[in-house]
């Protein structure tokens, strides 16, 4: 199996993994980053969102061997002010989509520290929440700095 070197949350990992393995599978099953969820496994729901060089990316349809940049998962964002903002706003119900929401939102507020409602709705539309916590997610991102 081809070897692969991957920077995740600032640390370099070397793994042997088959070519077809997705980044999500590698993160969850080989490296133990289970905060990244797989919900559809075909790029439709956003639960698996991680950042690659700061850019929200669907890890379930990204081949691990094709990753060129540094990966940031929810485990790398645990101290981000968004976490507290999500809890405060009750922007979590079952919590299965939530790590992906935070990863997407972290990229949004990095690019646009005071996002408008329109920006939030445009940039967060790829993260499906079946519990429908969207009003709370919107509030959390609007007030992410506390």
């Amino acid at each position: 199996m081809p070897e692969l070197e991957l920077t995740v949350n600032g640390e370099i990992h070397s793994v042997d993994a088959p070519t077809g393995i997705s980044l999500a599978e590698l993160l969850r099953e080989e490296l133990g980053f289970t905060g990244t969820k797989i919900a559809c496994n075909e790029g439709h729901c956003g639960a698996c969102t991680v950042q690659v060089d700061g850019v929200p990316t669907l890890s379930c349809i990204t081949l691990a061997h094709s990753v060129r940049g540094a990966v940031t998962t929810i485990e790398g964002l645990r101290d981000h002010p968004l976490v507290d903002a999500f809890v405060r706003a009750d922007a979590v119900q079952c919590g299965f989509c939530t790590p992906g929401q935070v990863v997407s939102a972290a990229a949004l507020v990095a690019a646009s520290p005071e996002p408008t409602v329109e920006e939030i709705r445009h940039h967060m539309a790829g993260n499906i929440c079946r519990c429908g916590t969207y009003p709370r997610i919107e509030e959390a991102i609007l007030n992410w700095r506390g």
Partner: protein, 754 residues
Amino acid sequence: MARLIRTEKEVEGRFEEVWLVVEEDPLQQWPEGPLSVVGRPAVRQDGPQRVRGEARFTADVQLPGMLHTAILRSPHAHARVKRIDLSPALALPGVRAALGPGEAQGLADEAGFAGEPVAAVAAETYGQARAALRAIDVEWEVLEVVLDPQEAVERGLLTGEPTRYERGDFERALAEAEVVVESTYRTSVVLHNSLETHQAVCQWIGDTLEVHISTQYIWGVRDALAEKLGIPGDKVRVVCEYMGGGFGAKNDPGEYTFVAAELAKRTGRPVRCALTRREENVGAGNRNATIQKLTVGARSDGTLVALGGEFVNAIGWSGWSAPTDGPMQTLYACDNVRTVRYGAKINTPPMKAFRAPGYVEGTFGLECLLDELAAKLELDPLELRRRNHADSNDGKPYSSKNLLACYELAQKHWDRRADVRARSGTTWKHGVGMASQIWFGGGGPPSYAWTRVTSDGRVTVVTAMQDIGTGTRTAMAQIAAEELGVPLERVQVVLGDTARGPYATLSAGSSTTPSIGPAVRAAAADVKRQLIEIAAQRHHLEERVLDIRDGIVVSADGNLSQPLEELVGLLEDAQILGKGGRGPNPTGMSVLTFGIQVVEVAVDVETGEVRVERVAAAHDVGRIVNPLGARSQVEGGIVQGIGHTLSEQRLLDPETGRVLTSTLDAYRMPTIADLPEIVCEFVDRPDEHLTNLGAKGLGEPPIVPTAAAIANAIRDATGADVHELPISREELLRALREAQERAREGAKEHVGAR
């Protein structure tokens, strides 16, 4: 002393009589309104772990040596396995075991829908298991397929006897009615799509089966496994600490658990069986389609005199016939009601309960019908509802009902109609619609909780319930903190493990808070009583002058003020233990929830686009324990409701009966961009007859009226009568054309009359 009584229990509108042991005298209810902790917003205690991705879901359980399962499903909508050979699969790399029809519960030799499980393979990796499925050699005998529910009804292909209901004399009342409206409504199949798919990890440890499962009912899973496997219940341990959504589809073990348990037994290894998204959207349940032929007869002042309905539930191959007829029977005062409900057994994937099953569909039909009546009578739709308010449930008193108070809360939103309509231009038309809500949600016995106070003054509530994401841990902690008189952050709730806590009921049917909340309060009261007794002896005071407030033991005269941890600190390793059980529901009363939603829409009459701009909800669910969590339930229900009203629809290939929209590009749930402004209000009045808490459930009520309110707003904006869910552009453009033709006809008649 323990008292044995007989009482009624309800889940998702299905009633049964049960025996119940009632222990101590019930506690007095707390006064109305926000208390110290209960009734005040509390952030989720398990929020940080969920947000940070630390919460361990079933999907995250990785056990050493764990095998993975893939399930072979029938490609035919109806077929029998004539011959099956698993051996080619067993010979493949990584494959460790395989099961055929009959070798585990849920693997059938007669497949009644395309996607029914027939065999399973366990292998070292999921990829190997899946590859092995292709090697399984099956010879099928293809059987007759029925996909059309109407045909099934005509041919008597039903899941049970038709459910008939009549009060008064419907025929006569209809004949005497001054106005009659008849309409047929159709609702489509929608899919739960919990983001965590149905899955289980099973492992045998000695003679005990340990099960990690994404479920709404750990005890139900335990008992079903024990029964089918022929082992004692206490030899099955079921764990579900966090789950990624359920919405009614995860109340039982399902084939995936039985398959994993059997494969684990055969291999001696832990086995995971997890559905893929596509399998989830085929075999894990759905809200079935309905056809509703409805009739209303009224006097010209709007008084309803006759309501009639023929309801067809397109159940699929298995499932139950949900009470689509319920709203028609119970929402309004009407002396003459006749309904018949058929459960059509057809070769489509089985239904499972989905957030207020039957009532969501039935309310869409009934409340659209009422608005068509209001339009015909030129009556204010809200006024029409007020005039037909039911003061009793066909003679049976309500334990509490504040629907008129909900209408009162909604009035200010309803009064925006003129302003909203005035925004209409040539292409975008604006309008306002409403619909009422009735549903169950009273919960019931039994459920139990234990409470533990340790010598550091901290409190643990132990109850083997599950938190499906509604914020149960937090609500239970609030109830215990309130009763005990300690700050909320001192209370933690341990749940989700049948081996670590007493029985608690399922997290379905809006029953969690009303069922388990009272048990938690009783358990907290039990330890509080003991703490007071201890304090009385320690300080030589009478119990009746002592209380605990904000974590401090105080005496009525103010002379004693001792932190709780100081009092119990004396006891070192000792623990004060309390227990509590859920008492019965009030005898002879209907325990129901009520509400109204007022929706504002904008409709592009040229392209059929609908924008839901604002939804105002007012619900009556008794006491609100956590306003923050309650608001989230309402918002979530509305968002799901918007989905099945506008964009979600499961489609089948009419030839093969296979699901075509199993992927989430084709099955489209709302995104954050589809969010309207949502205003959420509660009557927040405890139900004085219901338990020591006076709280009813809120998981389901908010999704009940949304579709009808949207459809009624569309009518208000455009005059179009939509009769189908989802309201696709195709359906809306059809309804708009029909409305235009009607207007033209009307204009012609008008001219003719002159």
